[in-house]
C-alpha cells in the first residue's frame, strides 16, 4: 500500500516538475547557451584565421594575444598614474620648501604632461561624444519641433537638411579645424582646440537625424489631439509642452539613438584624422608605432570601441524607457 501511494505521488508531480525544469532549461539555452556558443565559435574561427595571416608586424593577433594586451594596457595605465602621483608629490614638496625659505613666493602648479594611457583616451572619447551629442540635441530638438509645427519652416529648411545629411562629417573636419583655430583664440583656453574640433564634428553629424525624426514625429501628431488643444485654448508653449513633446517623444528618441550611433563611429574616424586625443588617436598612434604588439593593441581598442558603442545605445534605450510614456516603442 505504501509503495503504491509513493509511486502514484512520484508519477504525478514529476511530470509537472519536469515541465517546469524544461521551460527553465529552454530559456537558459536561449539566453545563455546559444549566445555563448556563437561567441566561442567566433573566437575559434578568429584564432584559427589569425595564425594563418602574417603581416609585416608579425602574426595577426588571436584572442589570446588581445587578452594579454588588455592586461598590459591596464598595467601601463597604473604605472603612468603612479608616475603622475609621484610628480605631483614632488611638485608639492618643492613648492613647500620654497615657501619655507621665501614666504612671498607665488606657488606655480604645473600639470603632469606624461603620455595619455588607453583609459585616458577612452575617457576623452566618451566626454567628446557625449558633449557633441548633447550640443546637437540642444539645437536639433527645438529646431525639429519648430519645423514639424510649421509647414513654411519645413519647406524652407528641408532642402538644407537633405543636402547636408549625406555629407560625411569627415569632409567638415578641415573646415571645422580652421574655423575653430580662427575663432577660438584665448590665451588660457578652458577647452582644448582639439576637443572643440572633434566635438563640433560630432555635433554636425548628430544634427540631421535628430532634426528629421523630431520634425516627422511632431508633424504626425493625431489631428484629434491637436483639436483637443485648440478647444482647450492651450497657449503655444503649453501646447508644445503638454501635447507635442510627449506625442513626439518616441520619434525623438529614435532620432537620438540613430545620432548617437553615428556620432560614435564618426568620432573615432575624426580623432584618427585630426590626431585629437581619444581612442581614434590611440589606434592611429599604434599603427604608426608599428611594434610587434601594435596589432593586438589596435584589436583591443576595436573591441573596446564596439563595447562602448553598444553600451551607449543601451544607455539611450534605458533613458527612453524612463522618459517615454510609450513602453512599446522602447522595447527594441
Amino acid at each position: 500500500m505504501n509503495s503504491t501511494s509513493s509511486t502514484a505521488a512520484q508519477s504525478q508531480p514529476p511530470s509537472r516538475l519536469a515541465n517546469h525544469f524544461q521551460t527553465i532549461f529552454n530559456s537558459l539555452v536561449n539566453t545563455v547557451a546559444i549566445p555563448l556558443t556563437g561567441i566561442s565559435v567566433f573566437l575559434m574561427i578568429w584564432a584559427a584565421g589569425a595564425q594563418s595571416i602574417d603581416t609585416s608586424l608579425g602574426a595577426f593577433p588571436g584572442p589570446a594575444a588581445v587578452y594579454q594586451q588588455f592586461g598590459k594596457l591596464y598595467l601601463e595605465h597604473n604605472a603612468e598614474r603612479a608616475k603622475a602621483d609621484a610628480f605631483y608629490q614632488r611638485q608639492e614638496q618643492r613648492n613647500n620648501q620654497r615657501l619655507d625659505v621665501d614666504p612671498d613666493y607665488t606657488v606655480k602648479v604645473r600639470s603632469y604632461t606624461g603620455k595619455e594611457t588607453f583609459a585616458d583616451q577612452i575617457a576623452t572619447s566618451l566626454v567628446t561624444v557625449i558633449s557633441g551629442f548633447l550640443l546637437a540635441a540642444f539645437i536639433a530638438i527645438p529646431l525639429g519641433i519648430a519645423v514639424g509645427l510649421s509647414k513654411t519652416l519645413n519647406a524652407a529648411i528641408n532642402p538644407i537638411v537633405q543636402i547636408f545629411k549625406p555629407v560625411s562629417p569627415l569632409a567638415w573636419l578641415p573646415l571645422v579645424t580652421m574655423v575653430v583655430s580662427a575663432v577660438y583664440v584665448s590665451p588660457d583656453p578652458l577647452l582644448a582646440k582639439s576637443f572643440l574640433t572633434s566635438m563640433i564634428t560630432v555635433t554636425l553629424c548628430c544634427l540631421w537625424p535628430m532634426v528629421i525624426n523630431t520634425s516627422v514625429g511632431v508633424a504626425a501628431i493625431d489631428s484629434d489631439l491637436v483639436n483637443v488643444s485648440r478647444v482647450l485654448r492651450l497657449s503655444a508653449l503649453t501646447h508644445v509642452q503638454k501635447i507635442v513633446l510627449p506625442a513626439a517623444m518616441p520619434m525623438i528618441f529614435t532620432g537620438m539613438r540613430l545620432s548617437l550611433g553615428i556620432a560614435w563611429m564618426v568620432l573615432i574616424a575624426a580623432e584618427m584624422l585630426a590626431q585629437s586625443p581619444g581612442l581614434g588617436k590611440f589606434v592611429w598612434d599604434e599603427f604608426q608605432n608599428g611594434s610587434s604588439s601594435s596589432l593586438s593593441r589596435i584589436m583591443a581598442a576595436v573591441i573596446v570601441i564596439g563595447f562602448i558603442g553598444f553600451l551607449l545605445d543601451r544607455g539611450m534605450l534605458q533613458i527612453q524607457r524612463l522618459a517615454s510614456w510609450d513602453k512599446n516603442s522602447a522595447a527594441r
Binding site: V228, R230, V231, L232, K242, M249, W325
Partner: protein
C-alpha cells in the same frame, strides 16, 4: 426657454483642385438652453461639418454661429467637444486628462482642493472613479469614451458637442453609455448637440432630431420634436406607440425621402447583371 445657440445661414465650401466643394448650404438652427439636439443623416452629409463650425474648428464660408450673443470665431472650452475616438492623451491617466482641461479652464479660480474635488466629481459622474489613475491603454473603449465625456463636462461648457460619441462602441456598451448620458443630462441639464447614425439613440436621447438632406450642399430636411416624457426607459419605450411612430418617422426620412441607400442598390444591380449575363452565355 431662451435661445442659447443660433446658427444662421451657414454655407461651407471646401476648396478642391476641381473647384469649391459645397458641403453645406443655408443651414439655420436655433437651440434652446438645456435642449438635447441630435443631428442625423447619411454618411458624408455634412453633420460633422456643422459640429466643427459650432466648435470653431472650421470657419463657415458665409453665415455664422452666435453663442450667448457672441459670435464664434475660434474653438474654446465653452463649446467642449467629445470626439468620436475619445482623443485622450495616451501618456496621461484618466485623472490627468481631466486635470489638464480643468486647470486650463478654471486656472486659479479653483484652489488645489477644489480642483481635485471637481475632477473627481466629474469622473464619478461618468462612473470612472474606480479607474481614475489608469492610462487610456489600460481601459476599455467604453471607459475611454466615459473619460472623454468627463473631460468635456469638467469644462462646464455652455454647449456640449458630441461627434458620434458612441459610434465606435459595441451595442451593449453603447446602451450603457446612453443610459449614463441620460442620467447625467437629468442631473446637469446641459445643452447638447450630438451627431449620430443610430435612429434608436437619436429618439431615446433627444428633445429634437435634426434630419439632414444628402450632400453636396446639404441642409436641414426636417426637424422632429420628441415629446416623450423624461426620464426615459428604453424597455418601457420599446412598446410605446409614440416611440415607434417617431422611430418610423426618422426611418422614413432616411430611407424614403433621402434615398441614398437606393443608389447603392442600383450599383449592386448593375454589378450583378453582367454576372448573370455571363452565366447565361455559359
Amino acid at each position: 426657454m431662451s435661445t442659447i445657440l443660433d446658427i444662421t445661414g451657414v454655407d461651407m465650401a471646401f476648396p478642391t483642385p476641381q473647384g469649391d466643394f459645397t458641403a453645406l448650404k443655408g443651414f439655420n438652427l436655433k437651440i434652446n438652453k438645456g435642449e438635447f439636439v441630435s443631428l442625423i443623416g447619411h454618411s458624408g452629409c455634412g453633420k460633422s461639418t456643422v459640429l466643427n463650425i459650432v466648435a470653431g474648428l472650421y470657419q463657415a464660408t458665409t453665415g455664422g454661429v452666435i453663442l450667448n450673443g457672441k459670435e464664434v470665431t475660434e474653438p474654446g472650452p465653452e463649446r467642449a467637444v467629445v470626439f468620436q475616438n475619445h482623443s485622450l492623451l495616451p501618456w496621461l491617466s484618466a485623472y490627468q486628462n481631466v486635470e489638464l482641461a480643468v486647470k486650463q479652464v478654471f486656472g486659479k479660480r479653483k484652489n488645489k482642493q477644489q480642483t481635485r474635488d471637481w475632477i473627481e466629481y466629474n469622473l464619478r459622474l461618468v462612473h470612472m472613479d474606480h479607474a481614475m489613475h489608469k492610462r487610456p491603454n489600460e481601459i476599455s473603449g467604453g471607459m475611454k469614451q466615459r473619460v472623454g465625456i468627463a473631460r468635456a463636462l469638467a469644462m462646464q461648457p455652455d454647449v456640449l458637442l458630441m461627434d458620434e460619441p458612441f459610434g465606435a462602441l459595441d451595442a451593449l456598451t453603447r446602451a450603457h453609455m446612453q443610459d449614463s448620458l441620460m442620467e447625467i443630462q437629468h442631473e446637469l441639464n446641459n445643452t447638447v448637440i450630438m451627431i449620430t447614425h443610430d435612429v434608436d439613440e437619436a429618439v431615446l436621447l433627444s428633445d429634437r432630431i435634426v434630419m439632414m438632406t444628402n450632400g453636396p450642399a446639404a441642409t436641414i430636411g426636417e426637424i422632429l420634436d420628441i415629446n416623450l416624457e423624461r426620464p426615459r426607459d428604453r424597455l418601457a419605450l420599446a412598446n410605446d406607440p409614440e416611440y415607434t411612430r417617431l422611430r418610423a418617422e426618422v426611418l422614413k426620412f432616411l430611407y424614403e425621402k433621402q434615398r441614398k441607400v437606393e443608389t447603392i442598390h442600383d450599383k449592386k444591380n448593375t454589378k450583378s447583371q453582367p454576372l448573370n449575363g455571363s452565366e447565361q452565355a455559359a
